[in-house]
Symmetry: C2
Subunit: 158 residues, 2 copies
């Protein structure tokens, strides 16, 4: 089990995802859907990845919220279908950018409270935050350049 290139890829996606700090199964699901190319149900994920129904649901929804996976409702079926969006990595970068911006803001707020006599520290920390912000802007510009308004509002909530 797991020495086919396909399985190997799925495993690797899981490993990569967990390296980035997320749940391994989310990466595996993304890998699976990327391979399949067509909508797959939660039950199919459970079967293919040998995971519990709860994990499939939770992690598929996580991917959905990040905009890398879309949920479809095929006519004639009660099961939800999950499908990797055309360019998952774009949405991925977008959510990274969003997180970066959030962190930058958080840091800015904190550093604004630094005492007067620590102005040097405030400056260094401020520069740190600013770079994060610029990087976020930069990433957004980058993804926009590659995928000019293709997907449309992939994920609303969080």
């Amino acid at each position: 089990m797991s020495d086919s290139p396909i399985d190997d890829f799925i495993q690797t996606m899981g490993l990569m995802w967990s390296t980035e700090g997320g749940p391994r199964i989310a990466g595996q699901i993304l890998g699976y859907l990327l391979i399949e190319g067509e909508p797959r149900t939660l039950a199919q994920m459970c079967e293919a990845l040998q995971i519990s129904k709860g994990s499939a649901s939770t992690n598929a929804r996580l991917l959905e919220s990040k905009g890398v996976v879309r949920r479809v409702h095929p006519v004639g079926s009660r099961q939800d279908g999950f499908l990797a969006v055309p360019h998952p990595s774009h949405s991925l970068l977008k959510s990274v950018a969003t997180r970066l911006r959030g962190q930058a803001d958080e840091i800015s707020v904190i550093s604004a409270r630094f005492p007067e006599e620590r102005e040097d520290a405030r400056e260094r920390v401020g520069a740190f935050a600013e770079f994060y912000r610029q990087t976020a802007d930069f990433m957004d510009a980058w993804t926009a350049r590659i995928a000019p308004a293709q997907g449309e509002t992939p994920g609303e909530e969080d």
Copy 2:
């Protein structure tokens, strides 16, 4: 303990770092050094952050390998000094780019082994990897643009 803005910042850096999948203490050390602005010893980190000597050593070295922290040997002191580099976030992004490229390569190798009848999958996965690679290139270009050869070879090894 920990409601001064300074401490708050250090805590937040730790949280941010662990969100990214790294050890919390590494983030705290970076925050601490960023605040201080001047070289600090392992002993000082232990004292300030209330951590063990082992953690201080291990995590300082981790930061060093990522190029966000530099080790100095002040004359007249046996202790090593650790100092946040001028623009830590640049080195940070650089190491992200490197990791991205590595992952892209890994995926490419695997997808090359996909069976013939799965060429559609190979194509999707290939596009995924390619985007990763491009993003890595993009990040490198971005950091190079901001900091045009300023720091000099921050981290050799890995």
